[in-house]
């Protein structure tokens, strides 16, 4: 089971729901370490004063804010600690808003909230109420001495907490320059229609399981093979696809089996009529010819149970 990274309580009005916080993301980037290519030793980083060349002990480090090149305001860790947000253990919901009102650009990082000890009922109640009203709670919370704006959102049977960017953290598009002026770049109705049709022709439902980080998978596979002592090639691996199924062999097999099952009886004749005129995109396919194997002569017989 995953380990909670924080525990506290959701609070709104007089309600207080103990919760545990889990990250909803498992970053899967493959990480490498730096080694000395000659000896294989791990590289160590040291904090060194470039003027003296000597290592500086951790206790002697202070933070400097650069005002202008080479001019720093020095801040002691204690000074920062004094103005840190108060470490509360609550997620204070301030408002409930409709989910569509939050531009996805503000979402930063997702977490799951699980009910704390004894909080099951209250947790389920909040979950159900949010679903019912189709609302999202906007709250403030302090995690690791940083105050965060968050959105509490129901997702199936769990509450999620998305940290939100603050308004001034989002870059304004006007900083990009070079965007077309919508008035100058007006498309004709025909062009818009064509674009719309193109989009519709490619429209589908979003299925996250369809997309994979293929680069990462290739890197991991390479690491594994290399760990097993295999020499690694620089070429993409060939796929070894199956051979084209032999439909003719399948038909011959079905003829043979029809003949075995009592000579004169015809395999089936009156199927074709039901086809004409129907919308061809979604025709149910009930029968099966051969597939896959080399010899490929195993037609499945029509199932009478499956209509």
């Amino acid at each position: 089971m995953a380990r909670a990274i924080w525990s506290g309580a959701i609070s709104f009005g007089l309600v207080n729901i103990p919760v545990k916080l889990f990250s909803a993301v498992q970053k899967k980037t493959v990480r490498f370490h730096q080694l000395d290519a000659k000896t294989g030793a791990r590289i160590q980083q040291k904090r060194v004063n470039p003027q003296t060349g000597e290592e500086v002990p951790y206790e002697q480090l202070v933070k400097g804010f650069e005002l202008s090149p080479d001019t720093y305001v020095v801040i002691d860790p204690d000074e920062l600690a004094a103005i840190e947000p108060k470490k509360t253990r609550t997620i204070d919901i301030e408002d409930f808003v409709e989910i569509d009102e939050i531009d996805p650009i503000y979402y930063d990082h997702p977490y799951y909230l699980a009910p704390g000890p004894g909080a099951g009922k209250a947790y389920a109640l909040l979950l159900a109420a949010l679903k019912d009203t189709e609302r999202v709670g906007i709250a403030r919370v302090v995690i690791r001495s940083k105050e965060q704006l968050v959105a509490i959102r129901p997702r199936e049977d769990v509450l999620t907490m998305e940290t939100l960017l603050f308004g001034d953290e989002v870059v304004s598009p006007s900083d990009l320059g070079d965007l077309p002026d919508p008035d100058d770049a007006k498309a004709s109705k025909k062009e818009v229609d064509m674009a719309r049709q193109l989009i519709e022709s490619l429209s589908t439902e979003f299925d996250p399981s369809k997309y994979h980080d293929e680069y990462r998978e290739a890197v991991l596979e390479m690491i594994e093979r290399k760990a097993q002592g295999e020499e690694i090639s620089i070429q993409a691996p060939d796929e070894a696809p199956a051979e084209v199924p032999d439909l003719m062999a399948a038909l011959e097999a079905s003829i043979a089996s029809a003949k075995r099952q009592g000579g004169a009886k015809k395999p089936s004749g009156s199927k074709a009529d039901s086809k004409s005129g129907s919308d061809s995109g979604s025709k149910p396919k009930k029968t099966a010819a051969s597939n896959g194997s080399k010899s490929g002569s195993k037609p499945r017989k029509r199932s009478t149970a499956k209509k």
Binding site: S203, P241, E243, S268, S276
Partner: protein, 477 residues
């Protein structure tokens, strides 16, 4: 010696490849006028042949992308490669991936040669091998490349050059023949007709109207690799198989109209195509068109075509009724009956081939369309279609069902660019609100029957096809 193999060694990690390192050499007197030679077939990233001539205790080498020409009129490219060690004369094996020249290499021919001339830019030799025999010149052209030219008369005196285009023979619609035993029967493949030229590893697919389909169906290129140095022409069909292994014209639609190589690459994964070969038209310098069907079929079967994207399914001799019934049971389009003793008649719609359909399917020319109502308002309502009769386009009705969102969009996109003011139909006209188009699109429709006035009853759209010339579209039944 050491100098001549320096380039050879520099390109290889000799601990990893099974190739020879190149030893001390035989040490004897240099071969005066010739020596041994080898030609290796090398299935590297591109199939090619390596010609190596023993010379001063190493092997002078050329890569030949299309092999050794058998005819003096076929000059072929040769690329000079680094000298190889003598031990390479007997090398066969797998060069591992990631190594230089990775892939399988086997000896295609070997023997001895006589040397007439051996200069830096021109070599004339007479090869005496098991497969190759004759006098050849290798010479450097203007640039860096070389050519190989056969100086003797053709190895096979009766050999003809490979024809560039063979128009496929077409079938007539009909009924099961009465003289059943004189016919062979095949599945009617519901795809796109394509003639495949396979020329020493290189495949070209040509459609009925002469279009080069090769870039559109890259998976079929592997057929060339599988056939090695063989040169032949196949007739067949590009098909997209559904989950049950049956050809589906509707599935193929999404591969037929792709414009860019990257779009093809993306679609290849979802909808792979296969090439189904059902006839052999030319083989190793000889036309097979005049041979009877049964004999062409025998030669085709000998090729043992079966791979990830190609196959030559068998035919059945006699008892066409049984195959027609089985094809109906599997909901296939139908079968084709071919006279066992008939020659191949390029470009002809011949009575020797009879197509037997399980349901009525007809190619039609789109001459206009009506706009839709309901869910399809402002888009396509129905296609107004026709067929040619004595060169004139006759209206044959409206096709308003069978579309999917994506075919609708494709069809409409095509129609919009073809609009014109007047009707392309001769005689009877479609409804008044029809928007006319240039009669350039060919659609395939399934329908119940022809009415007495020559209209399609209950037609449903199956897809657009760009391998058929609209002028060829006539009533099939």
């Amino acid at each position: 010696m050491a100098d001549r193999l320096k380039a050879y060694r520099a390109k290889r990690d000799l601990d990893r490849t099974p190739e020879p390192a190149g030893g001390e050499g035989a040490g004897g007197a240099p071969a005066p006028a010739g020596g041994r030679f080898v030609i290796q077939e090398h299935h590297a990233s591109h199939l090619h042949w390596d010609l190596r001539l023993e010379r001063d205790e190493a092997l002078a080498s050329w890569a030949l992308p299309k092999g050794v020409p058998g005819h003096p009129e076929e000059n072929r490219l040769a690329v000079r490669t680094e000298d190889h060690p003598l031990e390479y004369l007997s090398f066969e094996g797998e060069i591992p991936k990631g190594s230089y020249g990775a892939g399988t290499m086997h000896i295609w021919d070997r023997g001895t040669y006589e040397c007439e001339k051996f200069r830096d830019s021109e070599v004339i030799v007479t090869l005496k091998g098991e497969r190759v025999g004759g006098r050849y010149a290798l010479f450097q052209t203007g640039g860096k490349n070389w050519m190989i030219h056969r100086m003797d008369p053709p190895a096979d005196p009766s050999a003809e050059p490979m024809p560039e285009i063979v128009a496929p023979m077409l079938a007539k619609a009909g009924r099961l023949p009465a003289d059943d035993g004189r016919f062979g029967y095949e599945i009617k493949w519901d795809g796109v007709r394509a003639v495949a030229h396979v020329d020493a590893g290189h495949v070209t697919l040509t459609g009925r109207n002469g279009t080069d389909f090769t870039p559109r169906y890259p998976e079929v290129r592997g057929l060339g690799d599988a056939l090695g140095s063989r040169r032949l022409i196949l007739d067949g069909e590009v098909v997209a198989l559904d989950e049950q292994g049956r050809p589906s014209f509707e599935r193929l639609q999404s591969r037929m109209h792709l414009a860019s190589a990257s779009a093809v690459k993306r679609r290849m994964r979802d909808i792979p195509v296969s090439y189904v070969a059902f006839d052999l038209l030319w083989l190793e310098g000889h036309s097979t068109l005049a041979l009877p069907y049964r004999e062409r079929r025998r030669l085709l079967a000998e090729l043992e075509l079966s791979g990830p994207a190609w196959r030559a399914p068998a035919h059945r001799e006699g008892d066409g009724r049984a195959l027609l019934d089985a094809s109906k049971q599997q909901e296939l389009e139908g079968i084709v009956a071919k006279r066992l003793d008939s020659p191949y008649e390029p470009g002809r719609r011949s009575g020797a081939w009879i197509k037997l359909k399980n349901h009525a399917v007809q190619d039609v020319v789109v001459g206009g369309y009506t706009t839709g109502d309901g869910g399809r308002a402002a888009s396509l309502g129905a296609l107004c279609v026709g067929v040619h009769d004595e060169g004139r386009l006759k209206y044959a009705g409206k096709v308003g069902t069978g579309f999917t969102e994506s075919t609708l969009a494709t069809v409409l996109r095509e129609l919009r660019s073809l609009e014109r003011d007047d009707s392309p139909f001769d005689g009877r006209q479609p409804p008044r609100a029809t928007r006319f188009v240039e009669p350039r699109l060919v659609a395939r429709v399934e329908f119940r029957e022809w009415t007495r006035t020559g209209t399609l009853r209950a037609p449903a759209f199956k897809g657009l096809r760009d391998d058929v010339d609209p002028a060829e579209v006539v009533r099939e039944t």
